[in-house]
Every structure is written in C-alpha cells, then in structure tokens.
C-alpha cells in the first residue's frame, strides 16, 4: 500500500464497510444477556457464575474435568454429578426409541421434539452409582442431543458453569469436553441435556420447554417453540 492512499478509495471503503456492518444484525444471544444481567445483579451469585471462558475450550474442559476429579477425591466417593450424567447423554444409544417413554424411577415422560426439528433417535439405560439413568436421544440432520433423567434425589451440579433463571426454574449451563450441557431439577429429579453440536441456547430452549410443559400443564401437550428461539443445527 502506498503511504498516501487514494482518499476516494478510503472514503468508499469506509462507506461500504458501514453498509456491510449495518446489514448484518448480530444481537447478543439471549442466554448471554441473561448471564450478564445475572452477573450484574450482585455479588452473591457472582462466584457461582464465574464460568471459565469457553473461548479457551480445552482449558475449560480440562478445568471442569479436574474439578470433577478433585471433588471425587475430596468426597472419597464417586458420587454422581450432572457432568457425569452428561457423559451418558453424550454416549451412543443402545436401543431404538419407543413412541412414549417415562424415565425409570420417575414420573417424567420424555418429550416429543419432532416439531422442533429433533425427532427421537434412540434410547439407553444406565446405572450410575445406584441411580437409574434413562437417556433418550434426539437427532437432526447435523447432530444429536441426549436427554438424561436420573432417578432419586437431585444431584450436585458440580463446580463451574453459569446459572440462568427462567420462569420455570433455574438452569445450569456447563461445558464438558467441548460439549454443551444444561442441567436442571424437574419434579425432584436431575435432568441433563447434552450435545456436541447443538448450542447452549438450543439446549436451554428445549430444557425450558420441557420443564414448563411438565409443570404448567400435562394436558395440553407440548407447545411449539417460538420460531425466533428455535435453533437447529
């Protein structure tokens, strides 16, 4: 480039870039705004919200694993956690999915998310330290979501992650080995959604949908997600 660029070119580039930037709306995603609002709400929840940055994905995954390992060592047991449950939700299905399915040891039915672009794709049942874990898998053309429900009392969410508050309840957003994880308590049981391809926002939308539908009304069936909040991969 010359030392003195053509003023007309400079002006044209400035104008063109302005057009490009104005043409693409890129508002911050709702979960991010919610996390910022919660961070801003005050100190009591700040430590809890201090999620290691996902931009440093490998570091966060390593930190999360280390935190889990440390918790296990300190506790002297291998108590199940939401992150350990997420490993099952990220595993492969072992059976085809039935039309209707209620998680073992609970009264929670798995939802039908076909209308949201995530039809049922499979099932697995596991035992996690004496707890029954039922996992249903949902797939789209480019990814899979695992939804695990754990029998018994709510599990520890473990260290890390951020909590998002919605009308239906609180949801913990976490990362595990590059996968997005959302955990919450529904009807007294731990529920975990996990995916390597779906975004945290997608998982959160589905979690809120499931949680709201089961707590507000079981008679009206599953609501459709508002289009603006549906994210498909």
């Amino acid at each position: 480039m010359s030392e003195h660029p053509d003023p007309a070119r400079v002006s044209a580039d400035e104008q063109r870039l302005g057009e490009l930037l104005r043409a693409v709306e890129a508002p911050a995603p709702a979960p991010l705004r919610a996390r910022i609002a919660e961070l801003n709400a005050g100190a009591p929840s700040r430590r809890r919200l201090r999620m290691p940055a996902l931009a440093f994905g490998g570091a966060f995954a390593a930190a999360a694993l280390a935190a889990v390992a440390l918790a296990l060592v300190l506790s002297g047991t291998s108590a199940p956690t939401a992150l350990r449950t997420a490993e099952l939700a990220l595993a492969q299905p072992r059976a085809s999915a039935p039309q209707t399915l209620v998680a073992t040891g609970t009264d929670i039915p798995f939802p039908d998310w076909a209308a949201q672009g995530w039809p049922r794709a499979g099932l697995r049942r596991d035992s996690l330290d004496g707890r029954q874990v039922t996992t249903e898998f949902y797939s789209s053309s480019s990814g899979t979501i695992g939804y695990a429900i754990v029998s018994g009392a709510p599990l520890q969410f473990g260290a890390g992650g951020s909590t998002v508050v919605r009308a239906a309840g609180d949801y913990r957003l976490m990362r595990s080995g590059g996968a997005a994880v959302v955990a919450w308590v529904q009807q007294g049981h731990t529920c975990v959604l996990a995916s390597r391809t779906a975004s945290p926002a997608t998982l959160l939308d589905l979690a809120v949908l499931q949680d709201s539908a089961s707590t507000v009304s079981t008679q009206r069936g599953w609501r459709s997600l508002p289009q603006a909040t549906v994210s498909r991969v």
């Binding site: 870039l17 911050a28 801003n40 700040r46 996902l54 480019s142 390597r196 994210s231």
Partner: protein, 179 residues
C-alpha cells in the same frame, strides 16, 4: 477524582461488545465466552474510568481478555479434534438464516485481519470509538490507528466483495461475495 464505572449501565453495551468479540475471534460461540469473561473481570471490583468513557474502558478490557485468551491457548497442549468437534456449526438466528450466514462471513473476514488491523477496525467501526479513543484504548497513536483502519477496511471490503488489489498483494485469500 475519576468517575466510577456504573455497573447498572453495562448491560446496554452487551450487543456492541458481542459484535466486537465476534469480530475479534471469528466465532459467535467464542464471542459469547469472551464477552462473559470481560464482564466477569469488569464486575470483579469497582473500577475507575480514568478519562475513558465506558465503551472505551470496556473495549480495553475486551482487548486484554482476548489477548490473554490467545496467550493461554498458545501455551496449552494441542489436542486432536474429534470429528464431532469439527462439525460445530453456528446454530443461531434460525429465523433469518441468510443474514446469519452473512454475519458469519463478515465477522470471519474481520477476524482474519492481522491483529493490529483487526483491533483498530473493531474499536472504531464496531464499538464506535473515535480515533483518539481507539488510540488510547489500544495504546497506539491516532495516526497509527488511522492507517491501520484504512488498511483493515480495504482488506475486508476486498474480501467480501471479491475485489483484486491490495488484499491479494498482501497475501489474503481470494474474495467471496456475501450474496
């Protein structure tokens, strides 16, 4: 005495910082994390603005957080990505997928700029700082910001509009159109 940063006004800057972060790192997912980490730092304790306005201050923290993350990443042992990891896609804005794609292309083009050019463009064209404010936020002279900004804009426009010229001479990839 320098005014204190008012935390209550910070949420109004989230959208702008998110776009800035996306342009810095090229990924909307990383941008979310970068913005959150930036706010965690800012809110960790009371802050004095010391002559900056809020946006300039946030830009400075965003830049430092971004650079720290890159240094951290460079020190971290490299791991082999699994297929699933390589298939990550941007899933947002499904109600306007064309615009989401255009946004991704534009911010990727900015993210490919050399770091100094990218920071100048982000500070002025995305965050909205004056040249002087950008210079103070980025520890560069105003004239330097001006030069970097011109070159950054030229490269991005050439990349998006598929123009020949300086972009090619300076080694960037061939241009692509958004439409």
């Amino acid at each position: 005495m320098s005014p204190r940063l008012d935390p209550q006004t910070l949420p109004s800057h989230v959208n702008r910082l998110y776009r800035a972060a996306w342009a810095l790192c090229g990924s909307p997912h990383e941008a979310e994390d970068l913005v959150q980490e930036t706010f965690v730092r800012v809110l960790a304790r009371p802050r004095l603005l010391r002559g900056d306005d809020e946006l300039a201050y946030l830009m400075r923290v965003l830049r430092n957080t971004f650079l720290d993350s890159r240094r951290t990443a460079s020190r971290r042992p490299q791991v082999t990505a699994q297929l699933d990891d390589l298939e990550l896609a941007d899933e947002r804005s499904s109600d306007r997928p064309e615009q989401a794609l255009e946004a991704q292309e534009l911010y990727e083009a900015i993210a490919k700029l050399p770091e100094d050019f990218r920071l100048a463009l982000v500070a002025v064209d995305i965050v909205g700082l004056s040249y002087g404010e950008a210079g103070r936020a980025l520890n560069a002279r105003e004239a330097t910001i001006t030069t970097r900004l011109h070159r950054a804009r030229r490269r991005v426009v050439a990349e998006i509009d598929g123009e020949d010229g300086e972009t090619q001479r300076e080694g960037s990839a061939p241009g692509r159109r958004l439409d």
